[in-house]
């Protein structure tokens, strides 16, 4: 129990008559990076705010580093890093001043901030006012403050919005380093595709309910979408009887779907005419769409 950084058990949260989160169980281990996925209003931000202790659950228990985060113990807060969605810093302060303020609050040595700003690529802009920053730069400053004091749990709400692909890559590179140092990372997003290969596990939320929780393999199994096998033949002519379970795609490709376990036998049985072979597995976006179809939205939840 105590070795898990964050544990939620049977957590529900109601706002008026609406349940923003309903009966969610989840756990985050040290060194684990988990993607929290769902459309706007799925309950992602409410979950994160309960982990931070900003909201108390209506039902269930939340434990962060073994403590109830709503108690506001300084030791727990010290070990947390948080990046809120749509964060707007004071435009009149410079990046360095903004980070210095948060470092003092967290009782961290301000002199280490220069390294942190370099790490997120803001070293050169540290003395510029935040008002002159681009959205991506503000987002990186937000990340820098979340990284203050080497947090053991990092909660990032839509952290990659406004980052171009290159910055996004460097952002994930930073997360990989932190994982190596044993931090548990939770990042919420509705851009699923970018999580592929970056997270250990994905939690899918919809209308406050947890629809799925597992690594990509588990999600593939849960989604029921079969992988597809695509081949190109040396001879463009296709014998319809022989290739009856294959359908023709534009560009002379043939495609069929099969169970994961049948992929290898099928590949072995391919005749010599096959010149090119590709296995297409369902993307996270496809799986997410399937989850939503099988669990239709029962009304938008607040937050």
């Amino acid at each position: 129990m105590t070795d898990r950084t964050i544990v939620m058990q049977g957590v529900s949260r109601r706002f008026g008559k609406l349940w923003a989160v309903r009966g969610v169980d989840l756990a985050l281990q040290p060194g684990e990076c988990v993607g929290l996925v769902g459309h706007n209003g799925a309950g992602k931000s409410t979950l994160i705010k309960m982990m931070l202790g900003l909201l108390r659950p209506t039902e269930g228990t939340v434990r962060v580093l073994g403590e109830d985060p709503a108690d506001g113990k300084a030791a727990v807060r010290q070990a947390l890093g948080y990046l809120p969605e749509n964060l707007a810093f004071q435009p009149g302060m410079t990046g360095a001043e903004t980070l210095a303020f948060y470092a003092r609050l967290k009782r961290q040595a301000v002199r280490r901030n220069a390294d942190l700003l370099d790490r997120v690529g803001l070293g050169a802009a540290a003395r510029r006012r935040v008002g002159t920053y681009s959205k991506g730069m503000r987002q990186r400053l937000g990340l820098a403050q979340a990284l203050l004091g080497a947090p053991r749990a990092l909660l990032l709400d839509e952290p990659t919005t406004g980052l171009d692909p290159a910055l996004r890559q460097s952002f994930y590179a930073i997360l990989h380093e932190l994982r190596g140092e044993g931090a548990a990372i939770l990042l919420s997003t509705h851009a699923l595709a970018e999580l592929e290969g970056e997270v250990d596990r994905v939690i899918v939320m919809n209308s406050g309910h947890k629809l799925a929780d597992g690594d990509i393999q588990v999600l593939r199994g849960l989604s029921g979408i079969r992988p597809r096998l695509r081949i190109r033949l040396a001879q463009p002519f296709v014998d319809p009887v022989r290739w009856q379970r294959w359908r023709t795609l534009p560009g002379g490709l043939l495609e069929t779907s099969c169970h994961e376990a049948d992929i290898l036998p099928l590949l072995r049985a391919l005749p010599d005419e096959a010149t090119d072979v590709e296995v297409v597995r369902p993307s996270l976006d496809e799986m997410y769409a399937t989850f939503l179809q099988t669990h239709p939205t029962c009304g938008e939840a607040p937050l």
Binding site: F15, K49, L52, L54, L55, G72, A74, R77, Q78, L80, Y82, L83, P84, E85, N86, L87, A88, F89, Q90, G92, M93, E97, F101, Y102, R104, L105, K106, R107, Q145
Partner: protein, 275 residues
């Protein structure tokens, strides 16, 4: 304590950066200098200390201007930060909610105090340079600045209470203007109307004293216009000063309570508020 000071320091620095201090100081200096040199014109013939006359004018100006400035500074302080997402972030740090409210409040009070000292001080020094002022007038002038800052703190505290009670910034702004109208204009007009209608039957001196203490702007006015004998005679309130049993210490305590009660209420409400 440390966290409160850090937050107060940030709030103060924000005020310096976004030119609040410069704007308020300039505005107060402009008004106080005009009052000092235009309003004190008749003092020459009767050989009255120009600073004492300026205090009378500045007191009346302060009653209108400082509550407005204080409310404009404060109405957005909490609800605005919640809107911008910085409040959720701040509360994820090792700070308690009362530290956040107190820190921001102290920062805003320092901002207003510095601006008032600069703005009003400009008039004091200008008068000192041109004609000189008596030590007694300077003492009353210092009391004016101190009590003006205290009254400002009252309205900052009320602004904070508004800011923690409402859901959006527009509403907070509207209520802040309403609070200003109520205490600065409506209350006194209403009180006057009641006094005229009552003809001294129900509202005795004691009740009137209480009614005056229930408006921080009135408490401030009495403290400055009737509290200092030299000033009271020029303000036309010497008669009232003799009648009212509200000495400066009692008025100062009333103003201090007007800071403490709304501020504590703001902290209590904020500690239960969903972010």
């Amino acid at each position: 304590m440390r966290q409160t000071i850090i937050i107060a320091g940030k709030e103060f620095r924000d005020g310096l950066r976004n030119r609040w201090i410069v704007a308020i100081s300039l505005l107060l200096a402009l008004f106080s200098l005009s009052l000092a040199f235009l309003g004190a014109a008749p003092t020459g013939a009767v050989n009255v200390d120009p600073l004492a006359v300026t205090i009378v004018s500045l007191s009346s100006l302060s009653v209108f201007l400082l509550p407005l400035i204080a409310l404009l500074l404060s109405y957005d302080a909490i609800v605005g930060d919640i809107d911008r997402g910085t409040m959720a972030l701040l509360l994820a740090y090792p700070v308690t909610r009362w530290q956040v409210v107190l820190g921001k409040f102290v920062g805003h009070c320092l901002l207003l105090a510095l601006s008032t000292v600069i703005g009003y001080g400009a008039a004091g020094f200008a008068l000192q340079l041109t004609g000189g002022a008596s030590p007694a007038a300077w003492q009353a002038f210092a009391l004016l600045i101190a009590s003006a800052v205290l009254m400002g703190a009252v309205f900052i505290a009320i602004g904070y209470l508004v800011s923690v009670l409402v859901r959006d910034r527009g509403t907070a702004g509207g209520i802040a203007i309403g609070v200003w109208l109520l205490f600065v204009l409506v209350y006194d007009m209403g009180l006057l109307a009641v006094l005229v209608a009552d003809q001294g039957r129900m509202i005795t001196g004691g009740v009137l004293n209480l009614l005056l203490l229930l408006n921080p702007a009135d408490a401030f006015r009495l403290l400055n216009l009737a509290g200092t004998p030299g000033v009271a005679s020029f303000s036309g309130l010497a008669g009232l000063a003799a009648q009212a049993h509200l000495g400066p210490p009692l008025l100062a305590v009333a103003l201090a309570l007007w800071v403490a009660v709304p501020l504590s209420a703001a902290m209590a409400v904020f500690s239960r508020r969903q972010i």
